[in-house]
């Protein structure tokens, strides 16, 4: 098939070989697991257990709260020891609510069975997937059931399966494709059925020939139409929008979802978890994690969610003496873990034991010399040097008008910057400042609208009272006189009254629940006042 190109991109050294030598290894079930209630994008899951409860492997611990949310399950059987704020693997270094599960050592499964997905309504299957905790395992951890819902307005023609794995060091998808190709293809088949997609394309970078061969073999054994496409190794070719462009030539419009161009994209590991749930009834309770860098036995490990990263690194033989920290994710987009004592979560694709020899200390930044190397490599074709000026000068509106929010924070710009400017950090700062000011402006708008509503209501009620008084006066006169002219006036006033009642004050549609309840409360109070007079 013909492939397309995206602008820019870089070729960092891959460092993948050291973690692909051995097959995926399993780890001993830890005695204690820590499961954050939010391991996904969206609302925090609702707690379904209490401290002291005994739970079985695969049991629902926290249910999705709302549409964009995902469930959390017990990776093994045991007792809920605590529900408390704990440090989680997040760049912010802030704690979040977590369930601590003490394993009982029996690893006993709860009730679970395969789902005959073709015998049910698709919506029922999606609901089941929602309860299975299936999220995008490529790193974004967006709840998959939302993306798998077929939408008649934007039918999905092409299902794209992302096996590009463009970040250096990370090889968990590579190994998964090599070893579990049939299972991945089965997951793709289910996804394709749910979306009603005509065909599926698996995109794999050409530095993974073994994975591509395994996937080709698996596809040939399956009846549905899946194309395996090897794409040039070019970071960030595994970004969803970049991969879609390379495989289809189509660009996802800015601010829109891929479905607007008839495409939906999932990671290979996500397809695998869909298969595990549909065909085995197993929710997402483990994942493959690459442990590499300065560890004794770099490789890929099948890890129960909630295992402490320190323990995982120990399972990989421990860190070398010169190691000075742990990075979660790859060297281009990863972040420093606040501590090794944080759990593996659904988004943990890679742990790198860093060392000065691996990641040299960053020298102080020099001024930008406008060489535009950053613009040459930007996969979104932004002008990073301009965005940097605007962010530095707190000129946020200008930054927004230069499409700051199209930045995918891939790090290509910083990677090539001769002045070693931490450009991505500037963009993150500008984005968060803009979002905060938008939020403040929105709050001010709500307050203003509320005040306008109140004034409109006061005016309306004044008119209504006046009309009521007039009506009474007319009624009294009609009783006294009762002539035809008076009756006509009364009829006209009644019509006017009816018309007035139909007038709906502006801005009362689309009220937030908070505002709506407040209005109701005010109306109730005012009703009482009116009753008095």
């Amino acid at each position: 098939m013909s492939l397309f190109k995206f602008h820019g991109g870089v070729h960092p050294p891959e460092h993948k070989l050291k973690s692909t030598a051995a097959p995926i290894r399993s780890v001993t079930m830890p005695l204690r697991l820590v499961l954050p209630l939010r391991q996904h994008v969206g609302n925090v899951a609702k707690l379904m257990v209490a401290v002291g409860d005994h739970v079985l492997k695969g049991q629902l611990l926290a249910a999705p709260d709302g549409m964009i949310s995902a469930a959390v399950h017990a990776p093994t059987s045991g007792t809920i020891a605590a529900i408390e704020e704990r440090l989680i693997p997040h760049a912010s270094g802030l704690p979040d609510l977590c369930i601590t599960l003490n394993a009982d050592g029996e690893d006993r499964w709860g009730d679970h069975q395969p789902l005959d997905y073709q015998a049910q309504e698709k919506s029922a299957v999606l609901d089941a997937l929602r309860l299975a905790g299936v999220v995008g395992l490529g790193g974004a951890t967006f709840p998959s059931h939302v993306k798998l819902r077929a939408d008649d307005a934007h039918p999905v023609l092409t299902l794209i399966i992302n096996g590009a794995e463009c970040e250096p060091y990370i090889t968990c998808d590579d190994l998964l494709m090599r070893e579990r190709a049939l299972e991945i293809v089965r997951g793709i088949e289910i996804m394709q059925y749910l979306l009603g997609a005509k065909h599926a394309i698996i995109g794999i970078e050409d530095n993974k020939p073994e994975a591509a061969a395994a996937m080709r073999l698996a596809c040939s054994q399956n009846s549905i139409s899946i194309t395996v496409a090897t794409v040039p190794t070019l970071y960030p070719g595994g970004g969803a929008k970049q991969l879609i462009k390379v495989l289809t030539g189509l660009e996802v419009p800015s601010g829109k979802l891929p479905t607007t161009i008839g495409v939906q994209c999932f990671n290979v590991a996500t397809a695998y978890t869909v298969h595990r749930f549909i065909d085995h009834g197993e929710p997402v309770i483990s994942r493959v994690v690459t442990v590499t860098g300065r560890v004794a036995q770099p490789g890929n490990y099948e890890v129960p969610l909630g295992m402490e990263i320190f323990d995982l690194v120990q399972a990989a033989g421990g860190t070398a003496d010169d190691s000075n920290g742990l990075v979660m994710g790859g060297p281009m987009m990863g972040f420093n873990l606040p501590s090794g004592h944080v759990p593996v979560v659904k988004g943990t694709n890679c742990i790198i034991a860093s060392a000065p020899a691996l990641f040299a200390p960053q020298p102080p930044a020099m001024p930008c010399i406008r060489c535009a190397r950053c613009a040459e490599v930007c996969p979104v074709n932004l002008q990073p040097q301009e965005l940097y000026w605007f962010a530095r000068a707190d000129n946020f509106e200008k930054a927004r008008s230069y499409d700051l929010f199209d930045c995918i924070e891939c790090g290509c710009c910083s990677y090539v910057c001769p002045s070693r400017i931490p450009l991505v950090q500037y963009y993150r700062y500008a984005k968060s400042e803009i979002l905060a000011s938008d939020k403040a402006r929105q709050a001010a708008n709500v307050a203003r609208e509320r005040n306008e509503l109140r004034l409109a209501r006061i005016a309306r009620e004044k008119e209504e009272r006046a009309a009521k008084h007039a009506e009474r006066a007319v009624g009294a006169r009609a009783e006294a006189g009762g002539d035809a002219k008076q009756a006509a006036i009364a009829a006209a006033m009644a019509r006017a009254e009816a018309q007035k009642a139909e007038i709906v004050p502006q801005n009362v549609t689309d009220l937030s629940p908070l505002v709506a309840t407040e209005i109701k409360a005010i109306d109730a109070r005012r009703g009482k006042v009116d009753d008095r007079d």
Partner: protein
Amino acid sequence: MNQAPYISASPSVTSIMLRVLLALVPGIAAYVWVYGSGVLVSLALASITALGSEAILLHFRQRPLMPFLMDGSALLTAWLLALALPPLAPWWLVVVGTLFAIVIAKQLYGGLGYNPFNPAMVGYAVLLISFPAIMTQWPVPLALAHAQLGFLDQLHFIFTQALPGGVTLDAISSATPLDYLKTQLKLQHSVGDILHAPVFGALGGRGFEVVAGAYLLGGLYLLQQRIISWHIPTAFLLTLAVLAAGSHLADPAQHAGAAFHLFSGASMLCAFFIATDPVSGPTTPRGKLLFATGVALLTWLIRSYGGYPDGVAFAVLLMNICVPLIDAATQPRVFGHE
């Protein structure tokens, strides 16, 4: 604590500047071969002045000394200015020009990365306006000279303006080929006749063309090293060639051809070393094309119709003014946008 990306792949600012300096070495060697080693004195004077004044200004501006002195940018400005001046220019001319370039055009605007104008060209323009006679008095290439000056003679001349006994100023200096052409055209001579004069070589000025060829060589090295992109040299040289060739075809008696314009004056230096200054130039690919086309157009216009024999410095400075506009007008289409 490091932040992502944890890895880095580009040469540092210092390494970029050093490679540009390295790319100038063939041109300097050719200069020495054609005009003698006096140019090395100019280079040394300019370098010392640049580093000294940069250090003093950094001190007053309370900026760290070493990272900025070592970045190579002051040295590059000094070299470009020294190479643009007449090779036997008096010492104070070099010093004044360099001081102006570094102190006014660079440091007072905020130092590295903040100067809107090309510092070397600001220095050059100030000298050209203030001292036009000295600035257009070039030595005769050694091969043509009636009297030969050794290194010590040249050194002595640079500092004292005194010549050894028996040698007159006319014997060692003359107008540049561009200047000569301009003067002769005013005297109603045709280009064809003028180019037979001994100051002209096969392509441009005799001697000058060798230096220009050496700059071209250095420029190709910069392209190969990806220090500069193809846009500016290509657009500049192509525009200049098309304008020269077109006007020469239309009126051969009044306009010199493409080869003469490309290999005379500062054309090659401008194409690869001056117009390509990233700080004072545009950043978008289309902007670079536009900018270089403008520089070439202005250069040709000034050479053909203006009051100065060469127009590179003014052309670059005038186009520097347009850079913010060019950048804003040539923003490329962002991914996912119409």
